[in-house]
Symmetry: C2
Subunit: 360 residues, 2 copies
């Protein structure tokens, strides 16, 4: 049990003897939860003890780490993948290598790194991680891009690449278009000449949101209500019906998107914000031959762990897009670590349009 | 419009002059509907005039034709594919070739034939059809097998072959296991060493039905209620969880089947008897990576019309199974054509366990 917990903290332990009120200056600190619950209630900013640097380990100073919905759900205990407790929160972020073990080949001090898989525990100032838990990223991309790269843009990239063969001029429809994944989908699709139809929930500041998504490269931004209206056919005067639908919502939103999908098209579900099942008329399967699939970046990474070429090819493509200004970080609010409680509360608000990024 | 209707009757026209009460002895007759509605109300047994035998045509004397659910729905006007009116009912059956046009190569008088595609209008005593609308079947298989071969066993064969690679010992789960497709699935799977878990609706004569399906080769027969119970795990002590689920019902039945599917398994929907959508928890897509697909034999035939090898290979496999006694016709009630009204009413009753077959 203690071993499991120690593994969970990936080389960092919560020292019980050290007084919380007087941390050593510059000592490693992190947001730790010892039980599942609402993040602002169960997370504590604690001093962490660094594990001894093993031969294959890397000592990393974290620079920035976002608060993602999956991070929240993991702490609440409702996610499909939970870390042994106590655990450091956070699954994404960017850090700088301070020191490497003598068998580490691919990294050196000064390199930037992001997590290679889920559950790293990124909400901490420093950590000692095994080399294989880290991916090198170039230092010439913005720190906020690097900090938000390993989950959302990768998810968007894979969903656009792995389910339908899309050519320039083809179209994609997605709901939750304002999410981190949604914004990445808009930008990656735009860079490939693929048209996007973007569904968002109606809200008071809708025109501002529409403007923002159009500026990112969206071709059409519509509300869920509009999805049900006959005016939808006007959209399809200019662009073909989508071959691919990306569903992060479920419930009616998914059913309505499906109605606009081309025969033999695919809907990929990667989230369920409405907390309702995906409902599909039987006729869509039989007479329109649509396919329904799912995607989870965590699972993809597991299945492709032995295939570094596929991963490298995706990362290189994303770095190129970032360098060309075709893929930017989502709208962000940068928050110093000690203000984590306010950041968590902001991240958990509905209709939040700005990603909270912890700075270390 | 008249041309379309004539095409719909595939070479037969409804003669308005001939008195219905005194048909010529041996004259072609058929069950014709001039409008959509409940089949017993809109179908009429009428004399038909045979089209002149063209060079590529085949004159066929029908032997037997079943009443399938899709036939009913076509007449009701609720099916995805409707024939131009007036039309002769029926999409499946077996006939004997009486005469062939001079360019017909693959058929000769005495051959047995079944429809190569949907909408042939098989509920008639005779017809003249283009050669490409017919498939030859061997005469050494039982007439009831031949009459019920082109829809249900083909559907079962394709669904078992085209979605998951199943090896002996693997398992398949299906609902509506008592349907024509369901019974064919049980038998074809059994012949391949694939285990079947068969879901049926609870009914007064359940033990008899269970016995009948077990005799066909079913490994497990359970009710929809049992599908939700923890005792299901006992089944999976002896056989692996299914890689493939075949759904002809929709609604809760589909959702519950899905819960037992292996991760990365596929559910294929080919019917919607419950008249309810398929409902899938978002987590099944994301964390268990299940796939949902659809199947429609009519569409498959269209898409493989240029690939006679694939079709021949399937038909040969089915003929072999029939000859070896591994694939039998479904439980049938044979009805002379003039009693068609009673046959239609019996076919439309819920919990019907016997397929109505019209004899000519």
């Amino acid at each position: 049990m203690q071993r499991a917990a120690a593994r969970a903290l990936r080389g960092a332990r919560v020292p019980s003897a050290r007084p919380r009120s007087a941390p050593a200056r510059g000592a490693p600190r992190g947001l730790v939860y010892g039980q599942h619950g609402e993040p602002p209630a169960v997370l504590r900013l604690k001093d962490l003890e660094l594990a001894k640097l093993g031969d294959s380990d890397v000592h990393v100073k974290m620079l920035a780490a976002p608060i993602n919905p999956a991070d929240i759900n993991m702490i609440q205990g409702t996610y499909a993948l939970l870390s042994p407790l106590p655990a450091v929160g956070g699954n994404e972020g960017v850090g700088e290598v301070l020191e490497v073990g003598r068998h580490v080949k691919a990294l050196e001090p000064g390199d930037w790194v992001i997590p290679a898989s889920t559950s790293l525990g990124t909400w901490r100032t420093q950590g000692v991680f095994p080399e294989e838990a880290l991916l090198k990223v170039p230092r010439d991309i913005p720190v906020l891009c690097a900090a938000t790269l390993s989950v959302n843009p990768c998810t968007a990239y894979r969903m656009l690449a792995d389910f339908e063969t899309l050519a320039p001029g083809d179209s994609v429809i997605q709901n939750a278009a304002n999410s981190g994944v949604g914004q990445a989908v808009i930008q990656i699709a735009k860079a490939s000449g693929i048209k996007t139809i973007n569904v968002v929930r109606d809200r008071p500041d809708l025109p501002k949101l529409v403007e923002r998504l159009m500026a990112l490269g969206a071709d059409h931004v519509i509300t869920e209500e509009m999805l049900r209206k006959p005016e939808m056919k006007d959209i399809f005067k200019n662009i073909p019906k989508p071959r691919l639908a990306l569903n992060c919502v479920g419930g009616k939103s998914a059913t309505e998107m499906l109605r606009h999908l081309q025969p033999k098209g695919t809907m990929v579900t990667y989230g369920g914000m409405a907390k309702q099942p995906v409902m599909v008329p039987v006729s869509a399967f039989i007479f329109r031959d649509v396919q329904l699939r799912g995607f989870w970046m965590t699972q993809w990474r597991k299945e492709h762990a032995q295939d570094p070429q596929v991963l490298a090819s995706m990362m290189d493509a994303l770095f190129q897009l970032i360098r060309r200004g075709q893929l930017s970080a989502p709208a962000c609010t940068q928050v110093p670590l000690q203000d984590y409680r306010a950041a968590l509360e902001a991240a958990m608000k509905p209709f939040t349009s700005s990603k909270q990024i912890l700075l270390f």
